[in-house]
C-alpha cells in the first residue's frame, strides 16, 4: 500500500438528500473496518441534530439524516472533523461470544442439494467445495480453519440482525469462497454462510447466495425477545463484536435447541479489549489470547 490507510482520507458521496456514504477503503481489511468503527463512534458521540442512523459496514459506513434539520454540507464537515479525531484510536473495548455450530448438518445439506443446479460444483457439497478452493485437505481441515480463529462482526445488516464477519487471520489465510452462481430462494434460519471473504449467520429464513456450512442453535434475532441475551435488544450482534465458533455434535445441538424452546438457553459472553496493533504485530498468537477469555 502506497499510503497507510490510517492517513488516507475517506471518500464521501451523498446518497441523494438523506444519506451520506463514506468509503474507507475499496478493499476489505481489519484496518479499514477498524477505522470505520472509530469514525462512526466519533460521529455518534457528536450526537448531531438531524442524524437518524449511523450505519457501519465492512470497509465503509453510511449516515441517514434529515436534511431539514442538518444541511448536507454541515453534516459532511462534522463527519470530516470526526474522521480527523478518530484516526488515533487503535483499540476497542468489546466482547467475545462463543457461538456453538453443528457443521455439516442435515438441514443445510438438504437445502444445498435442492439448489445444486445453482452451484459452481454440483458434484460436491458446499463444504467440500470450500475446502478444495481454499487448498485444504478435506472438510475437517476446513472446519478446523473456520473455527480456529475468532471473527470480527464487521457489519450488521442485509436483513434484520444478520452479522457479516471477517476472520482474524492474515490475508493469506483468509477463507474465500465465491457466492452461489444464482442466489437460492431458501436458506434455513441460523445457517452459517460464507461469501467472498465474509462469514455470516442468516438471522431469518429466506433467500441467500452464500455457501452453507452448518447451523447454530442460538437465535440471534427475535422480535419476541424470549432469551436472556435478547432482552436488551431484539438484535443480538453489534459491529465490533468478536465471535468464536465452537463445533458441537448433534446431541449437544439437540439439547441446545430444547433449551432454546424452554427459554433457558444462554451464550458464553466475556468482555475483551482488542488492540489492532497487537493483532498486526502477532496475527497468530494474539487471537489465541482473546480466545482464552472464553476459557
Amino acid at each position: 500500500m502506497a499510503e497507510p490507510l490510517a492517513t488516507t482520507p475517506i471518500r464521501y458521496s451523498f446518497g441523494a438528500d438523506e444519506h451520506l456514504f463514506a468509503e474507507v477503503s475499496e478493499s476489505m481489511s481489519l484496518e479499514a473496518f477498524f477505522k470505520g468503527l472509530a469514525v462512526t463512534r466519533a460521529v455518534e458521540r457528536l450526537a448531531l441534530e438531524g442524524v437518524l442512523d449511523v450505519c457501519l459496514a465492512n470497509a465503509s459506513f453510511q449516515i441517514r439524516f434529515d436534511p431539514d434539520r442538518i444541511a448536507p454540507e454541515a453534516l459532511l464537515e462534522a463527519v470530516r472533523g470526526a474522521e480527523a479525531q478518530a484516526v488515533a484510536e487503535r483499540s476497542l473495548n468489546t466482547r467475545i461470544i462463543e457461538i456453538p455450530v453443528l457443521y455439516n448438518d442435515p438441514w443445510t445439506h438438504e437445502t444445498l442439494m435442492r439448489f445444486r443446479d445453482r452451484h459452481q460444483d454440483p458434484q460436491s457439497t458446499d463444504l467440500e467445495y470450500a475446502a478444495r478452493v481454499n487448498g485444504l485437505a478435506d472438510v475437517d481441515a476446513f472446519i478446523a480453519a473456520h473455527s480456529g480463529a475468532p471473527w470480527f462482526v464487521s457489519m450488521v445488516g442485509f436483513v434484520a440482525g444478520l452479522p457479516f464477519m471477517f476472520q482474524m487471520v492474515e490475508r493469506e489465510r483468509q477463507l474465500q469462497v465465491p457466492k452461489y452462481l444464482r442466489p437460492r430462494t431458501d436458506t434455513p434460519k441460523l445457517t452459517l454462510g460464507h461469501g467472498g471473504c465474509f462469514g455470516c449467520i442468516y438471522s431469518v429464513r429466506g433467500a441467500g447466495g452464500y455457501q452453507m456450512f452448518g447451523v447454530t442453535p442460538a437465535p440471534i434475532y427475535d422480535p419476541q425477545q424470549t432469551l436472556a441475551y435478547l432482552k436488551e435488544h431484539m438484535v443480538f450482534f453489534r459491529p465490533g463484536d468478536i465471535v468464536q465458533f465452537k463445533p458441537i455434535d448433534r446431541r449437544t445441538y439437540d439439547q441446545a435447541v430444547a433449551d432454546v424452546e424452554d427459554g433457558r438457553f444462554d451464550l458464553r459472553i466475556r468482555p475483551v479489549e482488542f488492540s489492532l496493533d497487537a493483532f498486526l504485530a502477532d496475527p497468530v498468537g494474539y487471537p489465541k489470547s482473546l480466545q482464552e477469555a472464553l476459557a
Binding site: 441523494a16 438528500d17 475499496e26 476489505m28 442512523d53 465492512n58 431539514d68 442485509f158 436483513v159 434484520a160
Partner: protein, 323 residues
Amino acid sequence: MIKVLKPGLATSVQDLGREGFYHLGIPPSGALDQYALRAANHLVGNAPGAAGLECALVGPELEFQHDALVAVCGAQMPVLLDGREQHPYTAFAVRAGQVLRFGFPKAGARAYLAVAGGIDVPEVLGSRSTYALGALGGYHGRKLMAGDVLPVGQPSGKTRAGASLPMALRQALGGEVVLRVVPGLYFHRLSEAAAQSFFTDAWTVGSEADRIGYRYKGGDALSFQPREQPFGAGSDPSNIVDSCYPIGSIQVPAGLEPIILHRDAVSGGGYAMIGTVISADLDLVGQMQPNQQARFLPVSMEQALEARRSYKKKLGYLAKLFG
C-alpha cells in the same frame, strides 16, 4: 374492528415508518407513498402518521364490524362499499356490517386506506409499520391474511363524511415517470457509455417490484470500468465490498437490470450503487405498476433539496386544510 375477508395481493399495515434501526438491518418500512397515506389520514381526522392499510395492485375485501369513517388515497383504485362506488379521495361513512372492496387500479400501484382512529396494532420500535422480512411490526409482522381482525383506535371526530382532497392536492399518476437521481456513490465505476445511456434509455418496471425494491428492464446493459477487483469485493465488476445501501439507491447487479431499493430495503450488500432517487420522488416509485416506464434524470444536491422543499410545502397545505 375490521375483518379481512380477502387479503388482496399484498396488503399490510403501514404508518410513516421507523427510524434509527437501519444500522441493525431493520429498514424504515412505512408507506411507500408517504404523501398518500398522510392525505388519507387527514381526510378522516387522524394524525398524518396514523397507521393505515397499504393495498398493492389487488386490494383487500374488508368487513367493518362497527360504524367508521374511511378514506382512500394514492392509486386510482375504485372503492366499492356494498358494491357502490365511492367518490375518490373523499371520506365516506361505513356502517357496521358493510363490506368494502377495491376494483383494479386505473393508475398507480398502491392505495392507502385510512380509518378514523387508525389501525391500532401495537408499536414495535416506535412504529406500527410492517417489516415482513424480519416478521416485525404491523399485524403479526406479516401482510394480511383472510380471517385477520384489525383493531381500530378512537376517532378524533375532527372531520366527517364528504371531506375531500382538492384537485390541486391530488397526485398525478400513470404515464411515463421521470425519477430524479443524484449520481454518486459508485457512479464513477460505470463506463462512459453506461453513464450516459442510463439517463437516456427508457426503463420499464419488471415483475420483481415490491416493498424491498423495484427492478427495471429494457435499457442497454451497463458496463463498468475495467479494474482488478479489490480484496473481498467479489469477482463481478458490479461487485463491491459489501456496504450499506441508501433508501432509494440504484444498484445494477451484473450491469443488467437496475434496482431501486425502497423502504423495506435490504440494508446492505455487495453491488455497486450508481446513484440515489431523491426523497421527493420515492412516492412516485411506489406508485409504479409493472410495465410502466421511467426515465432517470440526473440532478444536483441543490435541486434535490429544492424538490424536497416543494414536497414539504404540499404537506403543509394538507395540514393547513385539515388541521
